[in-house]
């Protein structure tokens, strides 16, 4: 087995560069505090909730509560799920724009949205 060549090092450097570029893009795209959270189930909007008020939202699919989302202190946190892996519950609370919590088994996505779109949306709805 030959040693790591120049080509290997180059390719890995390029890949690492892409990683950091991706982090940077995400940092530039988000970063600001979000205004409200958008909850979608199976690609369809379940509801929008402002981050400023304290409340607990049961996310229901076909009348059954599958996840519980807690909003408070300007952040949203998944506090309960009825699936076995509980990956969404273990995720940290989200508060910044574009931050996301996903519950894959139930296809529930929670995204923090910024203030700019909020004005338009609240009029449109």
């Amino acid at each position: 087995m030959r040693k790591l060549g120049k080509r290997d090092v180059m390719l890995m450097m390029v890949l690492l560069f892409f990683c950091f570029a991706a982090f940077l893009i995400r940092k530039l795209a988000g970063g600001t505090e979000g205004a409200y959270v958008l909850v979608t189930v199976d690609g369809e909007i379940f509801g929008e909730y402002p981050l400023c008020e304290e409340r607990e939202i049961p996310i229901k699919i076909a009348g059954e509560t599958v996840n519980r989302l807690k909003i408070g202190g300007g952040a949203a946190d998944m506090i309960w799920a009825d699936c076995p892996d509980k990956l969404c519950v273990r995720q940290k609370p989200v508060s910044k724009e574009n931050e996301t919590i996903v519950c894959l088994p139930h296809r529930v996505v929670i995204t923090v949205e910024g203030a700019a779109e909020n004005g338009f949306d609240s009029i449109a709805r």
Binding site: M1, R2, K3, L4, G5, R7, D8, L11, M12, L15, L16, F18, C19, A22, F23, I25, R26, T40, D42, G43, P84, L87, C88, R90, Q91, K92, N98, E99, T100, V102, L104, P105, R107, V108, V109, T111
Partner: protein, 168 residues
């Protein structure tokens, strides 16, 4: 030939043990889907020592069996997407013969994570999951590197065993 079939069974069992070990390790960094990819160790070694068909066979069987044992239908679906895409990637990179086993493993790791992310975004019908892309990319590189280094070291030591015993 008979001997090889028997050894394939042993390798499958070994891959399943690695799956089990991985399910025991609490390996969590705030982003879902990041894992060590221990089983890729045996897939990489088989790909280099036995061949494409054999490695693919073990990979698919391992995913389905481990899914029934430690996961659910969902985990099988995600594992298959990640496993097959990363296998194709590693296979192509190995075939072209330009890269070291470590690099091949790194690319496999990245492909695995990106394929799972793409499938997740299709299933939840939301591009929001790509928020995790940077972390998953980086974790793919790091775990792929780790597994690649291990695979290279192990391969050096088992090469003779494969040549004299398994491939006979």
């Amino acid at each position: 030939m008979k001997r090889k079939t028997a050894y394939m069974g042993v390798f499958l069992a070994f891959a399943l043990i690695l799956s089990y070990v991985e399910s025991l390790i609490p390996f969590y960094f705030g982003v879902p889907g990041i894992k060590l990819g221990l089983t890729n160790l045996i897939i990489v070694i088989l790909l280099y020592e036995l061949g494409v068909k054999e490695a693919l066979c073990i990979s698919i069987l391992r995913i389905i069996l481990a899914g029934f044992l430690f996961g659910n239908m969902f985990s099988i679906l995600y594992s298959l997407a990640g496993g097959l895409c990363s296998f194709c990637m590693m296979c192509l990179l190995k075939k072209c013969g330009l890269f070291h086993i470590v690099t091949v493993s790194v690319c496999g790791g990245i492909t695995h994570n990106m394929a799972q992310l793409a499938l997740a975004s299709l299933i939840v019908e939301n591009y929001g999951v790509f928020f995790y892309a940077p972390a998953l990319l980086l974790s793919g590189v790091l775990t792929g590197f780790l597994i690649g280094v291990l695979a290279a070291e192990i391969e050096k030591r088992v090469e003779r065993f494969f040549r004299e015993t398994v491939r006979k």
